[in-house]
């Protein structure tokens, strides 16, 4: 984390969520933007949804820190701007993983960021929907308690190992709340848009973010360690095609992981297309060749295919796992692969809107070790297990 960043402190009267709302209200009033997109409780009260809000009364009931993530925010932003930027300047209040997915989708041409101000906040995580829906009243209490203490134990498995819970770099403005209980919220601009937002409401920047940065970096280190441990543990469980098949064994091939994924944006997934429909004889031939053909067919091919398509952009939000009717640890598996792939390309998601996607960037000197071992130039590389 860079240390030359500055922030503006806004008193919150002990209630950080209220502090965030007060800031948004002021910014709206000063026309820093025309509308704001953020989660709010649905009218029935038992769930949450993103609302595009202009009215101050509605804004009062919004919940920037909602206990669950029924829809990934990047998908919502994409549904508003996929066809172009629109007239309204919209501020989106998102979790860091949603902001990272938003930046990825803008690179993939699925979001127009021109009139969007991306605002992130330190994220305590979200609860698995199944836990929350069992008893929403209890869920609210559990979440409130856990989020105040930065206890990730009741959160999604991926939230528990998330080391990207704070500023992502590519957003416009970040709201620091970790370790800020008594002071208020810290508003940290990350772009010109962010700076303009703060100056519109007359906030000036100071050198007061060192304590917050220290809290962030402490938790980041803890989470990194946990993430590595979790990845290592999982790696041995899913290594090789047989164990991978076992990990996905209960899959009913509903493709819901793909439909709730912010990165899977294809209108028509290859695996739902006519390409994946075969003749009767083809099924029989495959059944004969393999001592039986599992139905639905091509289940593992779908997961591996999806992995190949999106793991370089996987933000580890945990949406897929939350929406899986068979409770398969999809997002943990995808995170393991995503982490490795992103590391190989030295690609940090969400760091910058301008950083190109690795697969669209050709670097002559890249992956020499792979090429050489294929060419037989580097015998030292051969036979390596990894």
């Amino acid at each position: 984390m860079t240390t030359n960043r500055k922030g503006a402190l806004l008193p919150a009267g002990g209630n950080l969520q209220q502090g965030i709302l007060d800031f948004i209200k002021q910014a709206l009033k000063q026309s820093a933007f025309d509308a704001v997109l953020m989660p709010s409780r649905v009218p029935a009260g038992d769930s949450f949804a993103y609302f595009l809000i202009q009215s101050e009364a509605v804004l009062g009931g919004a919940t920037p820190l909602s206990p669950i993530m029924p829809v990934q925010g990047a998908r919502v932003i994409s549904s508003i701007t996929r066809h172009g930027k629109g007239k309204n300047r919209i501020a989106v209040i998102t979790r860091p993983c949603e902001a990272r997915a938003t930046i990825e989708l803008s690179k993939l041409g699925q979001i127009d960021l021109e009139n969007i101000t991306v605002i992130t906040m330190d994220c305590p995580g979200v609860m698995p929907m199944s836990d929350y829906f069992k008893d929403t009243g209890k869920g609210d209490r559990v979440f409130e308690d856990a989020s105040q203490n930065w206890n990730s134990q009741p959160m999604r498995p991926l939230c528990q190992i998330c080391d990207n819970f704070s500023s992502v770099g590519g957003e416009d403005l970040h709201i620091g709340i970790i370790g800020m209980e008594s002071d208020g919220i810290l508003l940290i601009p990350c772009s010109l848009k962010g700076e303009n937002t703060l100056s519109k409401i007359g906030l000036s920047l100071g050198d007061n973010i060192a304590d917050w940065e220290a809290s962030v970096s402490k938790l980041t280190d803890e989470r990194k360690k946990k993430r590595n441990q979790s990845n290592e543990g999982l790696r041995s469980d899913i290594r090789g095609i047989d164990r991978l098949l076992q990990a996905f064994s209960k899959c009913i091939n509903c493709h819901n992981c793909m439909r709730v994924c912010p990165i899977c944006y294809c209108r028509q997934c290859n695996f739902d297309s006519d390409k994946m429909k075969f003749s009767f004889d083809d099924y029989i031939t495959r059944g004969e060749a393999r001592n039986g053909l599992r139905i639905p067919t091509d289940m593992l091919l779908f997961h591996i295919g999806r992995m190949l398509h999106m793991s370089l952009s996987c933000v580890s939000c945990g949406m897929c796992e939350d929406a899986c009717p068979m409770a398969i640890p999809v997002s943990q598996i995808f995170t393991l692969v995503g982490d490795k792939n992103q590391e190989a390309f030295d690609y940090i998601l969400g760091r910058s809107v301008d950083e190109p996607l690795p697969l669209t960037t050709f670097e002559e000197e890249e992956f020499l070790e792979v090429e050489q071992s294929y060419a037989g130039v580097s015998p030292g590389q051969e036979g390596q297990d990894d």
Partner: protein, 379 residues
């Protein structure tokens, strides 16, 4: 409901009895069919090698029959949807036998009526069905331990605890169009003897040469009616829950309030066969100006507001063909009691048209059948 069709044959149904428990006896039949080249393949539930997960499988070798569990009380996917996929591009070119539950069979008949599959060359084996356990139980891995209770309940013709609510409320547990029906419900002998009703001439011909006892008898209608009335009572009890009772627009709004808009209910539904769902087409994607207008009207836009619209349209689209299998509810990540909503909607629409989906392949789809005398009161 329309009167049942005149009996295809005047005499009683021919019955094949095999001296083994129902599941083992059925496996014996499947093995016989494969060994004697009477079918090229068999589709049935099977214990998968990797970790014992139960999944549907297409097998072609008699040796693989051993690992099948054709009567295992689980519906990982609705097989009608899969069978449609297998016979969509071309009919089965060689005979296969398929073991499926009555609601799956009815759903497949509906799909065939909608030209999404073909009956040709398929021998349908079904059973008098005691229901299946929810997918949740497969996730938790506690179905195996419930099996003794399940089989006991089957034999006694009782409601089996912890099965899908859709199953506990199901009235159509006797297959209508199966070539062979395994008699399970209220059959006290299921752990000793397999009773296979050979409903069609095709079935009678295909079992020729198998070792077993042949006789003639029908299902005990009095017992069937007893079970039906138990299920009916259960259905009324279940659909009397406050959130399901009236299903007016306010109740619907409340019931669907947890919906996350993933549309997984449609993806697992055998009646939802559209290649591209209307709600995934460009028509359902809005230009930014739409949001600007909405914002001007009310000062706020719920970005998940299309969910109720989606559910109502889906219900409207599937209501004549819904066989109340309950797959939608099991696959819902937000635990919405979709089974009850589909059941209620389906039942009332189907009653209006005097139509039971999947009962008879010859019966036209209500929406494509014009009857001059229909709905006189409305017109």
């Amino acid at each position: 409901m329309r009167e049942s069709l005149p009996d295809r044959r005047a005499r009683m149904t021919k019955v094949l009895s095999i001296d083994k428990s129902a599941e083992e006896g059925l496996k014996e039949l499947l093995k016989f069919l494969l060994e004697n080249g009477k079918v090229k393949g068999v589709i049935a539930l099977r214990k998968m090698g990797e970790d014992g997960t139960i999944s549907y499988s297409l097998i072609t070798s008699p040796e693989d029959v051993g690992s099948t569990m054709p009567l295992f009380p689980l519906m990982p996917v609705n097989l009608a949807k899969q069978l449609s996929r297998l016979t969509l591009l071309e009919s089965a070119t060689e005979p296969i036998a398929v073991v499926m539950r009555p609601c799956e069979l009815r759903a497949f008949i509906e799909l065939v009526k909608r030209t999404q599959g073909s009956l040709e060359n398929i021998l349908f084996i079904s059973s008098t069905c005691g229901g299946v356990y929810p997918l949740k139980m497969a996730v938790e891995g506690n179905i195996e331990e419930s099996l003794p209770e399940y089989w006991k309940g089957l034999g006694k013709g009782e409601l089996i605890p912890n099965t899908r609510l859709a199953c506990q409320a199901c009235q159509y547990f006797v297959p209508y169009t199966a070539d062979i029906t395994v008699s399970l419900l209220s059959n006290k002998e299921i752990d000793k003897e397999t009773t296979l009703l050979l409903n069609t001439e095709k079935a009678e011909a295909i079992v020729e040469g198998i070792s077993g006892k042949f006789s003639e008898r029908d299902l005990d209608t009095a017992k069937i009616e007893q079970i039906r009335s138990k299920r009916k009572t259960e259905k009324e009890k279940l659909s009397d829950e406050p959130e399901l009772k009236n299903l007016g627009i306010d109740d619907i709004t409340k019931t669907f309030s947890r919906c996350i808009g993933c549309r997984n209910c449609s993806k697992v539904c055998p009646a939802c066969y559209c290649h591209v769902c209307f709600f995934e087409t460009e028509t359902s994607q809005y230009e930014p100006v739409y949001y600007e207008r909405e914002l001007q009207k009310t000062g706020c836009v719920n970005m998940l507001s299309d969910t109720i619209y989606y559910h109502l349209v889906r219900l409207f689209h599937v209501s004549t063909s819904c066989t109340a299998c309950g797959q939608c509810a099991d696959a819902c990540p937000a635990d919405i009691p979709l089974w009850a909503i589909s059941l209620k909607m389906g039942e009332s629409v189907q009653k209006t048209f005097d139509y039971l989906p999947g009962k008879d392949i010859e019966e036209g789809l209500p929406i494509t059948t014009f009857l001059p005398e229909e709905f006189a009161g409305v017109v």
